[in-house]
Symmetry: C2
Subunit: 450 residues, 2 copies
């Protein structure tokens, strides 16, 4: 019997069911405590544990955020301050940003300065260790559900590249082609091909082949006994009740989905890559990812101490809005929902002019008089992601708000930012040979001595 | 809500639960049909689908038979004819035994002549194909839960060796060290060590290194992308509802147990071993195993056509009785429950004399007068497994039944059969070098061209 949020008295309806229901509730309470670290109180279940039909592991008001669904009814997008409270993570505040700047001697990345990476877990601990000359490693990933990647998909990779540059640490990138096979109506061959194609776009972000290992699950699981050993270790320490609570799986889900979370968890542990870390099990991992991936790593952090591994630290990003507005995450299957990495300059121009949701007024006269709203304007949002110059961005905000800058002018500014960026990406991607992809995807020692 | 065998009316007790219960029942019916191929009828659920707390997937009268529990209250042991009906398999009858003899030109093995291997699935199909020069391959295995193996553990290997000899086909032997890690309070290192130690006893049965591949799951999964790809393929096509029905898993079981059945299923498909079968996907598999492993392969046979692979054929053996009597399967953890492969001649003698349950009468006078009962006598049962000579066995049965043969004399006969057999095994095992084990356990082409 699923917990339906009803009070206990409902259970006592027909004697035969009482025992089963009470047993189920007791189990639920134990799992609840395991997942949340708190005792369960009847009547006020926190939203991030209620089992739900493959649906929202987290739901509050109208925001829904989990690995498969992100939606909100607010034009400004998801309320991220609320998410921090709900997920129990910490805000990336000015003090932390300043500390990263001090330690690395570099201007913090614009994604930090502008709150794109807004939440973290144990980042202070990573920095403490780093200051005492203890290294760490980076882990991020992508689910290769199609060949097409859009600019939003680059966010974690652009940021991870910067982290790697300023901290000079190893990086592993997981391509979950097995996950996409399990969740989508795709063959393994298709998912694997998407993984290799996506790897080319990732490599085009500028990663150093001597410091970076990219792997497809379908390949690496069958190439590394250490990786599989960690997967099984994690699978022994997570129950169906727990994944039901965290991910909303149901009894009708296939056993592949049910056990998959362990596969996304395993790269968080350095012993999954003995060739890189010389069999060391104690290196901490830092995972930059979009906030919707946090449920996987809440689970991972719960398991870690029980299998004597360090908990991974995390840095969470906001979602990249669809051209149509911040209410939804972009979809790789809708070509008009975003700018794709394969778009021509003309397509970029047309898409932005035609589809980018505007915060401007209906007529030039009104706009000049009342000004536009940059907080709901998708072109302005995109500029916060991709325009490097803080002063210029600030001026655009002011002029758009005052009405001095028209929507067409704002869009032109975005078009002129994205066109060369995408063109450069395409140029770089062309340089990525099959040989180079193979090098990145071969299990090997990197340029670090452990 | 678990199906408790109650009638539908019980569901309609308090309105809030009705929806969930009805939904659950509908799902159950769909899964029921998937597993059994029949429509579910309320009130008369067949016993082999009723979900149960990690318990009997099959229960009838007092016999309980599943991969983790085998018990009966009958001194003669489990009622195997009933099992055939319940499992929906076919009896290995005289006609089939004769056909095997005809095709191979060999006297059928004593395990066939005496009903030790008593049940099968699709064996006629394997023989039809073999007669048209289409090859097949053999797959059997063992769960390495300890270093100690007893004579009962040899049954499938002795028979598989014979099948390999008379049919001249490739053989793969799976050591499920990952399963033992998931189910037992053991470390991965222990389970892996047991796998390698058990491999030595298996090799000592006389397998040909040029025709046999032995693998530990913990190793092979990390050495073969093809194996993992098949595991994921199977995991996509089996739901939690199904494994709950077949194996009795509950929501409190770890996700490793829940997804494990796919790992025992995968070696049934030739594409899991591209190095042996040259990437061929169409070779049929024949699995000799104890009947308690059948649930894994019922699931496998259900999945096979849905992933375009041939269904594996099976030959099922009865259980080897404990020295104390046929009511239970032997336990590797109780040294007095069986004859171990490491026992000295003296230990063999003492164990049989002291612990082997006797079907004889209390006094010599009574025994001479009324005779003994070979059907419940463990020493006689053991002789049916290990004494090759049919005439001698028949004579022992007659003499014991008539009272001409006393219990002590029967036991002496068994002792004299087992002592040289175990000594020979120990001698052979000593010859098994680490180098040879490594050869058997290295993924490689065998002496067959596909």
């Amino acid at each position: 019997m699923r917990n339906t949020g009803k009070t206990d008295q409902h259970f006592f309806c027909c004697s035969a069911e009482i025992d089963a229901a009470v047993q189920e509730l007791l189990k639920f309470k134990v799992d609840y405590k395991t997942v949340t670290g708190q005792d369960y109180k009847a009547g006020c279940p926190p939203t991030n544990i209620i089992p739900n039909s493959n649906g929202p592991a987290v739901e509050d008001g109208d925001d829904q955020v989990d690995p498969w669904n992100v939606s909100t009814t607010s034009a400004k997008g998801v309320d991220y301050d609320k998410l921090i409270v709900r997920f129990g993570s910490s805000k990336i505040d000015q003090e932390l940003i300043d500390r990263i700047g001090r330690i690395t001697g570099q201007t913090p990345h614009r994604f930090l300065r502008r709150g794109v990476f807004f939440s973290h877990r144990d980042m202070q601990q990573v920095l403490d260790a780093y200051e005492s000359k203890k290294s760490f490693f980076l882990y991020t990933g992508r689910g290769p559900s199609s060949e097409a990647m859009h600019v939003g998909h680059l966010i974690p990779f652009i940021f991870t590249k910067w982290l790697q540059d300023v901290f000079d640490v190893p990086l592993v990138i997981q391509l979950t082609d097995d996950e996409k096979y399990l969740w989508k109506d795709l063959t393994q061959e298709e998912c694997y091909r998407f993984a290799v194609e996506n790897a080319k776009d990732i490599i085009a972000c500028g990663f150093d082949v001597n410091k970076t290992f990219i792997f497809s699950d379908l390949d690496y699981m069958g190439m590394s006994p250490s990786f599989y050993r960690n997967v099984v270790k994690i699978q022994k320490h997570v129950t169906f009740n727990q994944v039901k609570g965290i991910f909303g799986f149901t009894d009708s889900d296939c056993i592949g989905k049910i056990s998959f979370p362990a596969i996304q968890a395993a790269p968080s542990f350095s012993s999954s890559f003995p060739q890189i870390f010389n069999d060391r099990k104690d290196l901490q991992c830092l995972i930059p990812c979009a906030i919707d991936q946090d449920p996987y790593f809440r689970m991972t952090r719960d398991v870690a101490p029980r299998i004597s591994y360090p908990k991974p630290a995390l840095m969470h990003s906001t979602f990249f809005p669809a051209l149509q507005g911040a209410q939804t995450k972009m979809s790789a299957s809708d070509p008009n929902s975003s700018i794709f990495l394969t778009d021509t300059p003309k397509q970029i121009k047309n898409k932005i002019n035609k589809h980018a949701f505007s915060g401007g007024k209906d007529t030039i006269e009104e706009h000049r008089k009342y000004g536009g709203n940059p907080d709901v304007d998708v072109s302005f949002m995109y500029l916060t992601f991709f325009l490097e110059d803080d002063c210029q961005l600030q001026k655009i905000r002011q002029d758009y708000t005052s009405g001095a800058l028209l929507t067409g002018e704002l869009k032109k500014c975005l078009i002129e930012t994205l066109q060369p960026m995408i063109a450069t990406h395409q140029e770089r991607r062309k340089q990525v040979t099959d040989e180079l992809v193979k090098q990145f995807m071969t299990p090997r020692k990197l340029e670090f001595n452990f």
